[in-house]
Subunit: 162 residues, 2 copies
């Protein structure tokens, strides 16, 4: 699955907060989780981590919640991957050899090297803000708009999308 489910949740939550940035200052986990059809508390854990890593700004209390920080949109996906999934995806040998490098390569080393190089390249070149360009914004907004009236309905509708 290349990336974890958590990573997908993380991106989706950031994009949701980003799309909402004109409408109000802070967005609540409650709302995000409902609109994106992500388990409320699991979403909370992930966002807590994002806040701790300064990817989002959070504040407690009434009308509190999450918003973008200045550099959120400039952050490469690479950083997000490392924060959520860790570096294992890049430094774990496919055959699980403990020592596997160019000097002492496992039989799949160079193939994996090529794959990982491509992966790193895409993830480093793509910034979070880059995911918001053009009509893609519409896709995100559709999650929150093209959805029913009532909370439980919202969730079931959202689940049809994600």
């Amino acid at each position: 699955m290349i990336f974890s489910k958590s990573f997908g949740y993380a991106i989706r939550s950031i994009l949701y907060v980003a799309v909402m940035r004109d409408e109000k200052r802070y967005v609540q986990v409650e709302e995000i989780a409902a609109k994106l059809a992500v388990p409320r508390h699991f979403m909370g854990k992930i966002m807590k981590k994002l806040a701790k890593e300064k990817i989002l700004i959070s504040t407690k209390g009434p009308s509190g919640g999450f918003m973008l920080s200045e550099h959120t949109l400039e952050m490469p996906l690479m950083d997000l991957i490392v924060i959520i999934d860790g570096v294992e995806i890049f430094d774990t040998c496919a055959l699980r050899a403990k020592e596997c490098n160019a000097d002492n390569p496992c039989p799949m080393h160079f193939q994996m090297d090529s794959i990982k190089r491509d992966l790193k390249s895409v993830l480093s070149e793509t910034k979070i803000g880059g995911l918001l360009e053009e009509d893609k914004t519409e896709f995100i907004r559709s999650i929150s708009t093209a959805i029913g009236i009532e909370p439980s309905q919202k969730i079931s509708e959202a689940q049809k999308v994600y």
Copy 2:
């Protein structure tokens, strides 16, 4: 982790059988598992699947075990991935959108498309036999040779490698 642990076990077992192909006809799970430091019965399950898919030939009874089939070495890694890990790695959207394609792309669609294209390319171009070329063979052989005397030692030594 891109590929599952099981996938790594599968490749390692096939390569082991391949390297042993001169020395004897059949190689036993018992031996393979010990030399590669893979849990005996877990290894068995994976190899059973490989045999069912005609990637290896198996026979029961005394002096039975596994050996290569004619086309084993010509098989692209792509096929092996699908057999062991399934197609989810290629058809699951990173953001877990149910409908995600070029016409209705999720915000990460084109980045993932690029990554997956690279992945498929490497996995399709690389055949299992290709992993056996040159000095890589030495790496595999080292698993079984550069290892101690006694079975329990063998396992612990092997674990240092993998």
